[in-house]
Amino acid sequence: MDINYQGESLLPGQLGQLFIVLTFGTALLSTISYYFATTAKDGSEISWKKLARLSFWINFFSVVGIGSCLYYIIYNHLFEYHYAWAHSSTTLPVHYIISSFWEGQEGSFWLWMFWQSVLGAVLVFRAKSWESPVMVTVMLCQAVLGSMLLGIEVFGERVGSTPFILLREALSLPVFARPDYLSMIVDGNGLNPLLQNYWMTIHPPTLFLGFASMIVPFAYAFAGLWQKRYNEWIKPAMPWSLFAVMTLGVGIIMGSFWAYEALNFGGFWAWDPVENASIIPWFTLIGAVHVLLAYKNSGHSYFTASFLAMISFVLVIYASFLTRSGILGETSVHSFTDLGMFWQLVLFNIIFFGLMIWVLVARWKELPITKKDEETYSREFWLFIGTLVLLVACIQIVASTSIPVFNAVFGTKVAPPADPIAHYNKWQVPFAIVIAILSAVAQFLKYKRTDVGRFYRSLISSLIVAVVLTAAAVYVTNVYSNFMYILLTFASIFSIVSNAKVLGDAFKGKWKLAGSAVAHIGFALLLIGALVAAATENVISKNSTGVIAVEGFDEVETPGDNLFMYMDEPIQMDDYTITYVGDSIDGVDVYYLVNYERKDADGNVTERFQLKPKAQQNPKMGLVGTPSTRHYLTRDIYTIVTAAPKIEALLNENEHEDHEGHSVYEDYEEPMTHEVTVGDTIRYRSGFVVVKKVNRSATIQNIPVADGDIAVALTLEVNSAKGKQYIAEPIYLIKGGMVYDFAKDVDEEGLKFRFTKINPASNSLEIMVYQKPPAEKKWIVMKAIEFPYINFFWAGTIIMTIGFILSIVRRHKEVKESPVRRKK
């Protein structure tokens, strides 16, 4: 029986799905057309090219169409669609709708396709004779990506996962038997609070642009080899390769910045498998850039250059496989779970890896590989060594990260290293040392042959300066405990000094050299920053409070990193006296205000500031903390709240109305009875009460005082420790021979007073004082970490990016200046 569902807007989804099919179809058509445009020699290549371009543009607009439909669905909260329900909610601010767009795999695949379309457009306009062979590869990739979004069943197997699947198609639940199910779904799952952050709007697009742009060097290398235009592809590929490493590098560092600033990893790089996956193609493409230069200037390293240019994109696909297939499930904090596209991702890898192997093997004999060896004192030799080191470093990362893949293939059950940071640093630090030294030394070498004497003379001055600076730096930053770290500091400083010298030459007019000098300086600063911060970061909230020494227990209890603090109770932590002073609530976020004070030896306050780490008490995810950091020039103090009382406790108890079955006294402790006279003072928990006077003709609301009745009121003045005053007047009534008393409360102090007896003989009055138990004191648990010299890390990144831009400009000019070769 077909159910007629009410209220669904099916049009956006159907339109979107149409665009998806169109995208896939036109990508295939474009690939085939560009192929024939490249290979046909009978004059038909012109019409093939026209067809290829036409299908390319339809593909471009279809991709935009997919995005528009999805945006429309999310923006209008159409929860009949699974994607909108799973990744957004009605309470999501509009600027985070962009973030929810790529929270799911389908959205991020789309993002990749979108960037690839943009890059394709640039190629169509600018690649000239390279357009057809290069676009074959690009559109092939576009077709494969398109297949990831199809979501159709072929021979019982589902191909791809479409973002337009309806909620009732994705989940099978009894509620969908009702035609009006849509009115019962009030809200979506919402965006993961960790992703409600401006970083989520900029990190994925940058990262995916970096990944997407890596296809261009691949495509050029493949086209060059395929079309036997062995030398010509290098010049146009250079600026593209530089653009790809620059963008991917910035994207990765953004992720690192995000983790540091907003996530609670407590650091900026954890050698987590997903982080590693994104960095492996970066290593190989940086290597490729350097040997491409070596080949251009000396004729050596052609094979290495072509191989690395192509393997970089294959590694991008491998990285996608690692993160999206779910194979990393047990080893990584932030890998996605399997969406059922495992074999499609494997196929994706095989296709491009296969193309690379085919073209290298088929053209092997014709590759311009020189028989001669390089001179030892030549720049190209050392560029090659450096690239080799990068490749080995990359293989180390790939191997360790791929342990789950080995397990899956070979049926083993090897677990990844118990301490990944120590494991990776053990290898990557020596590699980094070598690379940094080479980036210094190679600047003094010339291509082909260098005068040995001149080389050492120019080197020695930089070397000496570097040694002196290293000694100073090591002393200041306290890293002298570890020899490896000292060596890395030296290597980085040496690189900075040498490249500063080259930069000096650039200012004297040789502008061409500026790009590499600036980029190397940036990279070396980044290494120093990472090294120092990581090596000397210390948890300053380490404490042993709460640990009870157990008799007979010889082991020393490791102090924990988390510090417990009651509100308004200052604690000494490192140089600071910290006090949790309160909290403020803003929407779904709770900001915990922590005051920091630094005092000098005499107790004078030298510095005072307030940090506001915040936490969201998400009903689905518990307490999600966001750190707050104090930035100094030479270090950061980073604070995060790891535990706090539930929010109901913060938004205090509503006044409980008395009703049947409740005693008015149930909120109070056992009362204390006092015999007092006027002028007496009684203490209570947080203050004192003065008995002021007696009012013998008190009036009570609603109860007339008849003759023979006595109504006496007692005026009590409550003085709280905080300096506030309150008046309470409990009443004692004798009416018709019966004794009654009317209690009066002072809610602000949690007090209740009853005037219960008058003793005329001793002239004393009896009162009963009720107190509420002390409200549970507010508390937080926080962790504070100090990161020394971390600003080098960020500054280094910015400088390195500037260096890349300078190089791109230079290499792009070279392309424009070279004569354009017309294809026959």
């Binding site: 799973a86 019962m184 799952n189 080799l388 293989i395 518990g622």
Partner: protein
Amino acid sequence: MKKSSILGIVAIAVLIAIIISIYGDSSTYASFTEAQTTDSELHVVGQLNKEKELVYNPIENANYFSFFMLDEEGKECKVVFNGSKPQDFERSEQIVLTGRMVGEEFHASKILMKCPSKYNDQEIEITESVAAS
């Protein structure tokens, strides 16, 4: 020998060293019974025993968190973690611990949790709103 051959040999030697080190550093997935027999740190995969109590009392000790876990062989063990309770812990479907056995307790230095995936989450919040008649 040609320079490139020397380089090739050096590179291969380094790669072999890397593989040996990975194997040496790698840990094992084990059960609680196996963890009893060794002093080195290893991984134990299992599920949270939701019937038994979770202890995290920051007022007493902000760095003591304990719970009971069942490993893949079904054996139960008390786990102690020197840190704060990870968010959403009760909702975890699977836990991977890194640590070592100390006496009868497993002292974990790291906890990794697998939470229900969105596709498997068969629960949607449904509210019935009765239309005003």
